[in-house]
Amino acid sequence: MTKLLASREALLMVAIAFLLAIIAWRFPAFVVPSNLLAVFNDTSPLILLAIGQMIVILTKCIDLSVAANLALTGMVVSLINIAAPGLPVIFIVLIAVGFGTLLGMFNGILVWKLAIPPIVVTLGTMTIFRGIIFLLTEGKWVNSHEMSDSFKSVPRADLLGLPILSWIAIATVILFTIVMTRTSLGRAFYAAGGNPHAATYAGINVGKTQFWAFTISGAIAGLTGYLWVSRFAVAYVDVAAGFELTVVAACVIGGVSIMGGIGTVFGALLGALFLGIIANALPVVNISPFSQMAISGGAIIIAVIVNAQANRTPGRIILKKAEHAK
């Protein structure tokens, strides 16, 4: 328990509580439960993507193509919806996940089998995926009236007081917490990123593990693609433009180390919530929304500094007194 309290997640929770306190002082209506739930719902896409990105970063990679994946998948399912409005939403969801998975696998194969550095691969696929959206639609938008009602309404549908979108985020958090802590694959992500050399000795195929990380990231991005276009009831080329960096920012703030091997699903969740609260609170507290970018930037830098301090290896422990003092 004491370990939990001293951890970076605890620090982050304190920071979020502090943030909410400041906001509440200026605008008490922000912290009423219904509003907080609305903020959570609004942040759900970021939470989802942050979980996927966390897994990728854990394995010492990075996925800059998530937003483009989201946009492309969102467009693809929108077009399917136009062509076949009667298709039940559950199939749409499956197609979204499947298509996103394929896109993720493309990234994964290039990293695994061709050993191309992830930043280069995803820089490339980022532009390629978005370009494909244009090729599919010649730049035309898919608007709300072209989407079927069920397509748009499912994520908003209320279930026990929360929209389905929120429930999906919660379910994903729970699912991946279990996967990361209690499955061999989950532990392999940590091992492959924490010490790739040792991981090989332990029988873990580092490249393959990275492949699975990109696959999962792609699957989540695909799912979020449907949720996003449905929620905003529009699909076009520039959907979520630049969002990939917000996702990485959420991970960094959440304590995921860019060097790999360190990070938790809970941390990614907190990092996403932190950014989500800022985004929602600014207009309400009369701080110009134009400050959002600068505040996010500042938060990222502070998070990096704090996490670097926490992750610092204490140096070889040779003096006996130093070891027992711990």
Binding site: L110, I128, V248, I305
Partner: protein
Amino acid sequence: MNTRSIPDRLQSSLERKLKSWESLLMLVAIGIFVANSFASPYFLNAWNLSDATYNFTEKAMIAFAMALLIISGEIDLSVASIIALASTAMGAAVQMGVGAEGLVLIGLATGLVCGAFNGILVTGLGLPSIVVTIGTMSLFRGISFIILGDQAYRGYPSDFAFFGQGYVWWVISFEFVLFAIIALIYGVILHMTNFGRAVYAIGNNPTGALFSGIRVGRVKFILFLLTGLMSGIAAVCLTSRLGSTRPSIATGWELEIVTMVVLGGVNILGGSGSIPGVVIAAFVMGLVTFGLGLLNVPGIVMSIVIGGLLIGVIALPRLWTMWRTR
């Protein structure tokens, strides 16, 4: 005692050059040039070609500094945001009646200060540059947004326009000349000085370089300063060319610049690369953009080509080696 002496070199310099990445890229560049001249009658027009250079000169100036930084093992994703902040600073100065020379100084100074800020965080605090500069990317542009909101600064003095719109001789623009001079300077620095040797050493093995007495921190700090300075110079050129400033100026440029560097043969992981390679890559990207533009291909589709080129130039040699060693 054996007096057999060791030769200095085994392979002549020329031999080595011919087999290199730069040669391959040069072939690609020539190929694109030829293809373009067949594809459009407007291509082989001196003024059009000169206009085409604006596509890449500003980005290339930054790419040279970025190349050195990446060779040393770091990266700076905040360069486009530095342009925005420098441009905003210049715009604010214009409102206060500052003349062209003053504006240039302010642009350069802003770039230097931003570069120093990045440099201190990375070398002073030992933070990973990729996440630090994702943070400063938001911070710098965010500050621009705070200052300028969704407005624009105009009213630049007429002599200020020379930097971005002026010509030195016939079709040769000032920007092109500046680009050429900067290319030359960086080429000399990287390939002919002690400093350049240190950059390669650090990129290949930062620990080994440190243990050999190289002041790694100081070298990296200077590289961040240079990147900031180049961004400032590019800001002057770009602002002068557009005649106005918006906080959204140069959005997405950081990734295009990284693409230019990697396309130029610089290993994203550090340790190798050359300035001539980046020069050729700049031309390749400019030719592709210009050529496709003449064919009325939309920008976003051009990105597909660039993204494909980026992955292709790294993947194809590896696929080739894999095929040969079957």
